[in-house]
């Protein structure tokens, strides 16, 4: 996992365009606003609900990739078991909703909380050591949970999984007869994760995670409690992943052990962030969109003829990214964006 030093540095973008005249209509202002408006009207541009479903799934992966990025991206602690937190959220939610009629609006938080609690022993045990132990532990955790869920059949319904009974249009139960409300909830969650990441990146914890990812010994020598910083990041990451799992379960109405805790899902989560660009705010979001398009197009092209083939293509894509774009595609997008902003009318701080 060693990274080569580069002439250009990996920095959070400083507040650019801060010098612009107050209230001036600069591209730095109207382009993000335009993107937001686009995202708000996006489902209405879709020809049918299936396409809305695709963008909801992308938004869920923005949440999951963004949550993964907080620890694994910023601090370089590779997790290949984030499905553990996702699946915990999903199962906790469906079990509570079905058994006690708890509203998913509440299980959204409870599922995150249980995932957070689950992460505590992992953090306490693994972060005393450097090396691959954390990665191995995350894989083991997800696999152990998968087997437990299979074993306790009376509660979890084993391999068949659990379903949410359909109640029609019931907003309190997070059930809607259209895909539109789901899209806006998923969009809000995705934007929320990105805003949390931005806040974290600018905090002391965010700096500390970057230092740890760069060189843990040097970080320790500068008074950084690396184990504590990683534990805090893992807690936040697990919480958000758990919330993502709750939303996914309630949105799809069905959850089963392989889907919720499988290694495939953990790899997909990591891939979204890696393809997009680890340790950046927007990288995982871009990666989630790319991976979503990719998954859909491979499924359409191969049309279920060759099951598992998309995994092979995933592998190829991952190798390609690591070889040619080790920082993901985010730097490319950033350059394009900056080029665009510089050329649009009103550029240059509204001097014109």
């Amino acid at each position: 996992m060693s990274r080569k030093p580069r002439a250009e540095s990996r920095e959070p973008r400083a507040a650019r365009g801060g010098a612009s005249v107050k209230g001036a209509l600069t591209p730095e202002r109207y382009v993000p606003a335009g993107i937001l408006v686009f995202l708000l009207v996006l489902p209405y541009l879709m020809p049918n609900p299936f396409y809305v479903h695709i963008i909801v799934m992308m938004a869920i992966f923005v949440v999951l990739g963004g949550a993964w990025n907080i620890l694994s991206g910023y601090a370089g602690q590779l997790s290949l078991g984030h499905a553990a937190f996702f699946g915990t959220g999903a199962y906790v939610s469906i079990l509570l909703v079905n058994a006690y009629g708890v509203s998913p609006w509440i299980t959204l938080w409870l599922g995150g909380l249980v995932a957070l609690v689950l992460s505590l022993p992992v953090g306490l045990i693994c972060f005393r050591l450097q090396g691959p132990y954390f990665t191995i532990a995350t894989i083991g955790l997800a696999e152990a949970l998968r087997l437990l869920v299979l074993h306790f059949r009376e509660i979890t319904n084993g391999a068949q999984g659990l379903t949410v009974p359909y109640k029609g249009n019931a907003p309190w139960l997070l059930q809607f007869d259209s895909k539109m409300p789901y899209y806006y909830i998923a969009l809000a969650m995705a934007i929320g994760v990105l805003l949390i990441t931005r806040r974290m990146e600018r905090s002391r914890l965010g700096h500390y995670l970057v230092a740890i990812g760069q060189n843990q010994d040097a970080a320790e020598a500068l008074g950084i409690d690396s184990a504590k910083a990683k534990r805090q990041a893992l807690m936040l990451s697990a919480f958000l992943s758990g919330m993502g799992g709750v939303f996914y379960a309630q949105y799809t109405y069905v959850i089963h052990p392989d889907g919720a805790f499988g290694l495939g899902l953990s790899i997909q989560i990591a891939m979204a962030a890696i393809v997009g660009g680890v340790g950046t705010i927007l990288g995982p979001a871009i990666g989630a969109v790319i991976m979503g398009l990719f998954t859909q197009s491979t499924q359409i092209i191969f049309a279920g003829q060759y099951p598992g083939l998309e995994l092979l293509v995933y592998g190829g894509l991952l190798v390609a990214v690591i070889l040619w774009r080790p920082r993901g595609v985010f730097p490319l997008f950033e350059r394009l964006y900056q080029g665009l902003v510089a050329r649009l009318p009103g550029a240059g701080g509204g001097r014109a």
């Binding site: 920095e11 700096h207 230092a211 760069q214 040097a218 500068l222």
Partner: protein
């Protein structure tokens, strides 16, 4: 100088790796406001001693007291937070981020607010003469500037005691002079400094006292003049160069 308070008290420190006795029953003291030199041939246990004092290795036996507190077995970040910061013999920059942000990481220890820490980082960079490199990625610095960065990051944590591990290795004579002036200036500003150093000219003129190690044990301790005159030192280490002089 001899009446000054003891800041660091190392007593009976021992450490072995497999069959190799890296440090053996080592005791010495560092007094407030002094520059202590630690010298010895390669493999005599200087860097291991730093590792033991700063918590990167756990000693087999012995005790380390810093600023009146027993810090034996404390982790590196705790030791740093108590006011003892070290540099590494092989520089360990955070390679992909800027020089300025490297120093900011140290400054965050005492200034948790990143905006204020950034200002502190600017001040520290100016103190070591790296302000012109602030925006460069630390990994692209020359070896010498990486050493400066090591010192800058350590200073940003506002230590009482600074441990410098071969900061001058590979520097040309002008740069050695510059580094020496910096260390003296830091001491004059109230810092206590321990230097592990191979550049004899620098250790001899910088240090108030020198501890000489050989094969993990202290063979003598004293002023530079006493140490140079000590036959055991000449035999163990300085013989070749100083016999002829």
């Amino acid at each position: 100088m001899s009446q000054a308070r003891v800041l660091l008290d190392v007593e009976g420190l021992s450490k072995h790796f497999g069959g190799v006795q890296a440090v053996l029953d080592l005791s010495f003291q560092v007094r407030e406001g002094e520059i202590l030199g630690v010298i010895g041939p390669n493999g005599s246990g200087k860097t291991t001693t730093f590792h033991l004092i700063t918590g990167f290795h756990q000693p087999d036996r012995g005790r380390v007291q810093f600023d009146g507190r027993d810090i034996t077995g404390r982790s590196p970040h705790e030791v740093c937070a108590l006011g003892m910061c070290r540099t590494f013999q092989v520089a360990k920059p955070f390679p992909e981020i800027t020089v300025h942000r490297n120093v900011l990481m140290g400054a965050l220890l005492r200034c948790p607010d990143p905006t204020r820490a950034a200002v502190r980082a600017d001040e520290v960079l100016a103190r070591v003469g790296l302000e012109g490199r602030a925006a460069m990625a630390a990994g692209s610095l020359t070896t010498i500037d990486q050493r400066r960065l090591e010192v800058a990051r350590a200073l940003a944590t506002e230590p009482k005691l600074l441990l410098l591990d071969e900061t001058m290795a590979g520097l040309n004579p002008t740069e050695v002079d510059e580094a020496m002036r910096l260390i003296v200036r830091l001491r004059d500003q109230g810092l206590t400094v321990v230097v592990v150093e191979h550049v004899m000219r620098a250790v001899m003129s910088l240090s108030d006292r020198i501890v000489v190690l050989n094969q993990g044990a202290k063979i003598t301790e004293g002023s530079p003049q006493e140490v140079v005159a000590d036959p055991r030192v000449i035999q163990a280490y300085l013989g070749k160069e100083y016999d002829r002089a």
